[in-house]
């Protein structure tokens, strides 16, 4: 048996629906036999009648409704059809969900699932990585699973957390990533993971870019470079301790993210390491991000717009040469 990243998301939701009667799922085209644009809820509406509900094309109201239900003790999961459409719900997410506990002491345990990141031919409005927007504002937990196991356990954790969680699932990993089985144990949200130990350079990254980074580490290995790869897993909170411990080992930092280059996760990581781990660094820390244009539709352009093995490897070699 093997499980894809997408199946892990479906299984996590099935388990949540089975074990926790407070859970329901709310989103566009997720119900019926159809089961969602990406099939992340396939079969669930039939299995759990009345608990997987189609909504109008109303992202603001979808999240608002979930917020209200959460105040009443429910544990709604909102599926955005694409992360990019969450721009319509951003006000509810930042200003309503994100502020409610601080203002009133009443927490808002919603989980908003964002099918994120680029895939071939998806273009500017079906490819975005929005974790940087949501992490900037207070009151939200923002997670970015990179593995089948994390996709599963972190979604279960997300729903169990009493606060709003933005769960960024990467569409490219849906089918590309397989595991033997669903995991029994887990690392909690808030902890980063060393996915590959090394001593020469720390590549700190998250989501689909973890796999590009691993590819680069393998590519550099025959040349004698031992690259450590750190998967942040959650970008807010950011596990600075694990990152610093890695940089303490390697002395060198490359931070890689698929999002746009101004600000975002890579800026936050580099700024923290520079501030809190300045004396650990033997070379200038560096970043690889996407380019500062909308995400192009044509694969020839897209494959250069996003960070890729060759751009990451080039930057890695440059740091290693210092």
């Amino acid at each position: 048996m093997s499980v894809t990243y997408l199946e892990a998301i479906r299984e996590a939701q099935a388990r949540l629906l089975r074990e926790d009667e407070r859970v329901f799922i709310y989103g566009q085209d997720i119900a019926g036999k159809f089961g969602g644009a990406f099939k992340a809820t396939k079969g669930l509406a039939e299995q759990f009648p009345g608990r997987v509900l189609n909504t109008p094309i109303s992202e603001d109201a979808m999240v608002g409704t979930a917020i209200g239900a959460a105040m009443e003790g429910m544990r709604p999961i909102v599926e955005m059809q694409f992360a990019d459409f969450s721009s319509i719900a951003l006000n509810q997410i930042l200003n309503n969900a994100g502020t409610h506990y601080y203002r009133t002491s009443v927490p808002v345990p919603i989980t908003v699932r964002l099918p994120s990141g680029g895939t071939k031919g998806s273009g500017p409005f079906h490819s975005q990585s929005m974790e940087g927007l949501y992490s900037h504002y207070p009151g939200l937990v923002v997670v970015t699973p990179a593995t089948v196991e994390d996709a599963y356990t972190m979604l279960i954790d997300a729903v169990q957390i009493d606060d709003p969680v933005v769960y960024c699932e990467h569409k490219y990993l849906y089918y590309h990533l397989k595991a033997e089985a669903l995991p029994d144990d887990k690392l909690p949200i808030g902890k980063a993971r060393i996915v590959r130990p090394g001593r020469d350079l720390s590549i700190v990254t998250y989501s689909a870019m973890v796999h590009e980074a691993l590819g680069v580490a393998n590519e550099l290995s025959p040349d004698g470079w031992e690259v450590e790869v750190v998967d942040l897993r959650s970008v807010k909170p950011l596990d600075t301790d694990t990152v610093l411990a890695s940089v303490a080992r390697t002395g060198k930092l490359l931070c890689v993210g698929e999002a746009f280059p101004w600000g975002g996760v890579t800026a936050e990581v580099v700024a923290r390491v520079a501030s809190e781990g300045f004396h650990l660094l033997d070379a200038a820390p560096a970043r690889v991000n996407a380019k500062d244009t909308p995400i192009p539709y044509h694969p020839n352009l897209w494959s250069e717009h996003r960070p890729n093995k060759s751009s990451i490897a080039a930057k890695a070699r440059q740091i290693l040469a210092e």
Binding site: M62, I67, G68, N96, T104, D163
Partner: protein
Amino acid sequence: MLETAERGASSSTKAPPHERYLEAFRWMLTARVLEEKLASLYRGGMIVGGVYLGRGQEAISAACGMFLDKSKGDLFAPLIRDQAGRSAFGEPLLDVVRTYLGSAKGPMRGRDGNIHRGRPREGQLAMISHLGAMISVLVGRLMAKRMRGEKGFVGLTTIGEGGMQTGATHEGMNIAAVEQVPLVVVATNNHYAYSTPNDREFACAALVDRAKAYGYEGATVDGTDLAACLDVIGGAVKRARAGRPPQLVVAEILRLAGHGEHDDASYVAPEIKKESFAQDALQRAEKLILDEGLLGREGLQQMRAQIAAEVDAAVATAQQEDAPHASEEDWSALSTRELADQFA
């Protein structure tokens, strides 16, 4: 009066039980006296932040709060001109003045101010500023109650004619109809959104036509007429509770104050002040009380004095109380403290 969005249908004045007039009047007067106090504290520089009054809107607002019953699980999502309704729904005076005066004991503990106050656990939602955003939140609470098997509850929210033009209002009103939740939306056209008159807000002949456009039952009411407000809003609450589709009541009045107390409202056209919807609902209600013989002038005086004393007592209490101290904050926006990010 219930209507299916026929333009210009006028509101009924069929009298509801007399004893509710007096109760309603009391909430109206409470709001007026309290808000006059707040305005004077504001002028005296005692209040941090803005003061937004419901002057002229008290009949509508009182009716909004009066038919809701916490013991039935009812919910209220008020906005900035709903003091009468808040009080009728059970908000203690102390909650109000503590918030305005910045007491750490207020329901928002100094973290949010004045008009945003609420007690979500007790059914009163705490609005955010973005107009229309609370409608879908209320819908979600109503859905959740139904999912849990509760019955007989209703939710009511208010909106201005300006706020009706936001995308959030549209999505929220529509989703309520799709979910068929027991919701009442009371929209008040007070002819201005801040300084902006109706002709730059919308161009439909009657806002109540939105009812039909969403699949609501719609009604209009003269917001200066307490009896009509009780009748129409009470009727809408009753219908929602009985399982009818969501209800839209559109009330008409003139805003009888500035947008906030910082605003002299000199932009209000002089002619509009002569319109019948520009009457003061409180004065009209006072006349009703006297005409119906529910109280005499002396009784009214006593009621006002009693309310004023309660308000003064609340103010006196709140003024003694400590303001929040930053040193006592642990600065976490998350209830799950261990997930709060750490910044150097």
